[in-house]
């Protein structure tokens, strides 16, 4: 098994955090992982993206020419990455911000209003965690309890309230797709 995912959005939306948390969770679940951020002359408000590979075998290349999943938090990311997605792959998009329809019809599309949901929970900055809840619901790459304990490890020094709101955000995303179905 080898699953590659690209996360993309505005700088500051927590795109790298999503990838890092997935990689950490998958490592804790016993998988081989690689996390590759796009690096370079990035600016605040510009786009950020990262690629995570999860496999039960040795991972040869951390680059995804044909990712199995893409998670996009803004419109420019959708246009940049949707054509790379493997046929039959899963496309997760933040429908609070993305107001255009994907052009792909051969993929599974999941629209999650993650920014609005995060705002309702009281912290708009948890939109990325809402998205992770939905993402793991569909892909099942990492069991939720392992993912959440990985997030706690990563946020180690943060306040308890930050961890709690992220738990809630994750659950909201996880539940959202069940309700939608």
């Amino acid at each position: 098994m080898m699953v590659k995912t690209i996360f993309s959005g505005f700088g500051g939306q927590g795109v790298l955090m999503m990838g890092y948390a997935l990689a950490h969770g998958a490592m804790s679940a016993g998988y081989n992982v690689t996390f590759l951020p796009a690096y370079g002359a990035e600016v605040r408000g510009g786009t950020a993206n990262c690629t995570v590979a999860v496999s039960d075998d040795e991972i040869a290349s951390p680059i995804a020419s044909k990712p199995d999943n893409i998670v996009v938090l803004n419109t420019p990311s959708l246009s940049t990455f949707q054509n790379r997605l493997a046929p039959g792959g899963a496309l997760f998009l933040n429908s609070s911000i993305i107001d255009v329809e994907p052009s792909r019809h051969d993929v599974r599309i999941f629209k999650i209003p993650s920014s609005e949901m995060a705002e309702k929970l009281g912290n708009p900055r948890t939109a990325n965690t809402v998205m992770m809840g939905a993402f793991l619901k569909i892909t099942g790459l990492v069991p939720p309890d392992i993912f959440l304990s990985s997030m706690e490890t990563i946020m180690g020094s943060k306040k308890k309230s930050v961890i709690e709101i992220n738990h809630k955000a994750f659950e909201a995303g996880h539940e959202f797709l069940k309700i939608a179905e």
């Binding site: 950490h24 490592m27 992982v33 996390f35 590759l36 690096y39 040795e58 290349s61």
Partner: protein, 358 residues
């Protein structure tokens, strides 16, 4: 076993500190900035730890010379254009037989080039790099785990042979996160007599690279050369991957080898018998080991993220005993395993079971 998920650059920093590195000097350049960032944070937590963000790359390498002469395990890091600037100091360290670790996270070149991963500095690294008759040990890791292991080994090799040792990786190795387990470092073995710490009542000690008498300089050159010959005999390392039944063998190192392994997995699924020879020491190059392979395999394909540099060492090793092809992507392009698999597939006609002319 304590497995952690870390970025390549930070792994190098952590491995260096665990190996006893207590002096770091460097000047910022992408894609290795996380090394000085990490060292600035961690070295101040260590007793006797010194971190300097120097005014230039030239200053940094000369600070490392001073720290090394004074007996510290010392390191500097940079990326391609910055490594060019350090060559004067590296040459001096070779002349003075001073140990140190130099990290080059290669980026696209020549000139300032770009900040993408590349393998264009192979010639510079494996031929000494600076002026004069010398070599340095060059290690080419291809995973987070090897970044950790080889960084620790680099300090031991530097002390053992009193020579600069280079870790030659690239932007992708530096930026990528992978799980890593840090091994227990070996205790340092480095005689006090080499260290400049005040003569006391004894004779003055001088460490210098300026030897004006040509006959003395010649003798020093031969002394160094004998040392390099011992290193070449004893310190080569390589990995064989799926070579037992291979009809065609890829030769690649570092990130290139990662891509090659991905290509080989695909090719094997289509029934093509392809393997990989991966040099881990780039100097000394595992010449004899590759030559032995050429006794039973007729076709080699060298893959590098350059226009072709290591391919010269492959030709020197194989000496016409087998056919050698080349595929390169210079300038900061990182090709996919699919692309490399397609290249191999064109050379290797699976239906006829024969390999096309290169």
């Amino acid at each position: 076993m304590n497995k952690v998920l870390m970025q390549g650059n930070k792994i190098i920093g952590e491995a260096a500190i665990r190996a006893g590195c207590r002096f770091y000097a460097g000047y910022p350049i992408t894609p290795q900035n996380e090394i000085p960032e990490y060292m600035s944070e961690r070295l101040r937590q260590e007793e006797g730890g010194v971190f300097v963000q120097s005014e230039s790359e030239v200053a940094a390498i000369h600070m490392v010379i001073g720290a090394s002469a004074a007996g510290a395990r010392a390191m500097t890091s940079s990326s391609s254009p910055g490594i060019s600037l350090k060559q004067e100091g590296i040459s001096s360290m070779a002349a003075c037989e001073l140990p140190a670790v130099i990290v080059n996270m290669m980026r696209g070149g020549p000139g300032l080039g770009n900040i993408s991963p590349s393998q264009g500095d192979y010639f510079q690294a494996t031929r000494g790099g600076g002026h004069g008759d010398y070599r340095i040990i060059v290690l080419g890791p291809d995973s987070a785990q090897e970044l950790a292991d080889l960084t620790m080994d680099a300090f031991d090799l530097a002390d053992q042979y009193r020579t600069p040792v280079m870790i030659l990786a690239d932007g992708m190795m530096g930026q990528m996160m992978e799980p890593v387990v840090f091994k227990t470092p070996k205790p340092r073995v480095y005689p006090e007599s080499f260290i400049m710490k005040g003569a006391g009542a004894g004779k003055s000690k001088i460490i210098r690279g300026l030897i004006l008498d040509p006959l003395d300089m010649e003798e020093h050159n031969w002394t160094l050369d004998r040392k390099y010959q011992v290193i070449a005999q004893k310190e080569t390392r390589h990995e064989l991957y799926n070579t037992d039944d291979a009809e065609l063998i890829l030769v690649a190192y570092g990130t290139g080898a990662r891509i090659a392994k991905g290509a080989i997995k695909r090719l094997r699924e289509s029934g093509l018998r392809v393997g990989l020879f991966r040099p881990i020491t780039l100097w000394p190059f595992p010449t004899n080991e590759l030559r032995d392979l050429a006794k039973k395999v007729e076709n080699f394909l060298v893959f590098e993220m350059s226009t072709g540099q290591m391919v010269e060492d492959v030709r020197l090793a194989i000496q016409g005993r087998a056919r050698i092809g080349f595929h390169g992507r210079p300038g900061g392009v990182v090709p996919t395993p699919v692309e490399l698999a397609n290249v191999v597939m064109r050379k290797y006609d699976s239906k006829a079971g024969i390999i096309d002319h290169f």
